[in-house]
């Protein structure tokens, strides 16, 4: 049986762990609210943008002069996987799930004889897939210094991706991130951004006048579309990360509480055993006289 001093120390240590996880949970909750607000605020832009692009893309898709960002390069030999994860750990399965999805996709592509290139955003995902797919890495975007993701960050990533596309480094680009469902569920998602895909809009399409020309607008907007999609993904990811951390820390706090209860019972039992022992010694000593 462990002695009393040891038990006391363990209880104290678990208690301070619980304090930390509790604090982290509360911080994550506050950050989650902010991340959700940011995602909410960005929604109108993304929705309008995709609606307009959907209409434009549908009319341009058939024409042979459609931009490469829309129609693709005509091959799908080289794939760029943009794996977006968090900069920090301690958020449950969040980073692991995204990395797993990306890894499966990469293995599937490799098995099909395709070339895979990986661009990582956030160091946790990079660490998670480095061992297996390290030789496919072509770049890394560090967001450690960024407190709140802004559109400028998304533009930076998009510029990097588009630069590589223009240089003919890949044919198809896919984003990997976690879509925020609610605090307990985040879905790891793969979204193809190049060639661009837009949801078909169901509503009746108005015939627009285009200024300058339809092609010029499309050529101008497609790169912005990539930035918009990256930005949406970043925001979804930020909200998912905080949600995942919140529930992970909630679990940790509860586990620490259970452990403290168990240890306290054990501590009380040991103390009682010591007292009983002492009493037995005293009584039997007195009887011997």
């Amino acid at each position: 049986m462990p002695n009393l001093k040891d038990l006391k120390n363990r209880i104290a240590s678990v208690k301070s762990t619980r304090k930390i996880t509790k604090a982290m949970q509360m911080v994550a909750a506050a950050k989650l609210r902010r991340a959700q607000d940011a995602a909410e605020a960005a929604r109108p832009y993304a929705e309008r943008f995709n609606a307009v692009m959907g209409g434009l893309a549908a009319s341009a898709a058939g024409s042979p002069s459609a931009p490469k960002l829309l129609s693709g390069t005509g091959s799908d030999q080289t794939h760029l996987l943009v794996v977006m994860t968090a900069e920090r750990g301690l958020c449950g399965g969040f980073n692991g799930n995204i990395a797993k999805l990306a890894r499966l996709k990469a293995q599937e592509l490799l098995a099909a004889g395709k070339t895979v290139k990986i661009l990582t955003v956030g160091k946790k995902g990079r660490d998670a897939i480095k061992r297996e797919l390290g030789e496919h890495f072509v770049g890394h975007v560090d967001l450690t210094e960024v407190k709140r993701v802004g559109y400028a960050d998304a533009q930076g990533i998009a510029k990097d991706v588009l630069g590589r596309f223009d240089a003919g480094e890949f044919d198809v680009a896919t984003l990997f991130f976690a879509r925020f469902e609610n605090v307990v569920t985040q879905h790891p998602t793969a979204l193809q951004v190049i060639p661009a895909t837009f949801e078909e809009t169901e509503d009746e399409s108005t015939l627009y006048d285009y200024e300058p020309s339809e092609e010029a607008i499309l050529a101008d907007l497609l790169p912005r579309g990539v930035a918009t999609q990256v930005f949406t993904a970043l925001l979804e990811n930020a909200a998912s990360e905080q949600g995942a951390r919140m529930s992970a820390m909630d679990n940790a706090t509860r586990n620490a509480g259970e452990m403290i209860d168990k240890l306290t019972i054990e501590f009380n039992r040991s103390r009682q055993a010591v007292i009983t022992n002492e009493l037995i010694e005293i009584i039997s000593g007195a009887e011997a006289l």
Partner: protein, 141 residues
């Protein structure tokens, strides 16, 4: 007079949503004013001043990049970056100019043999300087 619904959104937030009587838009091919029953139009924007006239007065925004979608009863401006005119101080404006210049220098370096992107970047600077003229700020060189 009939009104139209005006929305100004940037990627990060919705800046304005009001009933307007007319909206002056700095289109890529020239300024245009949209009023109710305008023909449906989509136009890209050049950096410039967006003017919204509504029952409560006139609002002005400095917008850079993006596009506007005009229908008979609404105008939606999706700007890459947009600021209310009051928030564009000399400091902010200097930052925007510096950014345009950096983009120009970068374009000159990357596209040595292609005049297209370099000219685009030069036009961006010229547009930015023109914006300064509109809102009473001057570009420091």
């Amino acid at each position: 007079m009939a009104n139209l619904q005006f929305d100004l959104v940037s990627p990060e937030r919705r800046l304005a949503s009001v009933e307007a009587t007319e909206v002056q838009i700095p289109g890529a091919d020239g300024d245009m004013t949209a009023m109710a029953n305008h023909a449906p139009t989509i136009t890209t924007l050049r950096p410039g001043v967006l003017r919204v006239i509504h029952s409560g007065g006139t609002d002005e925004y400095v917008v850079v990049g993006g596009f506007a979608e005009i229908t008979a009863d609404s105008v939606s401006v999706l700007a890459e970056s947009a600021l209310p005119r009051d928030e564009v101080t000399q400091e902010v404006y200097d930052g925007m100019i510096a950014e345009a210049k950096a983009a120009h220098d970068n374009a000159k370096e990357v596209f040595k043999n292609e005049p297209g992107p370099v000219d685009d970047a030069a036009k961006l600077i010229a547009d930015m300087v023109a914006v300064g003229g509109h809102i009473g700020l001057t570009a420091n060189n």
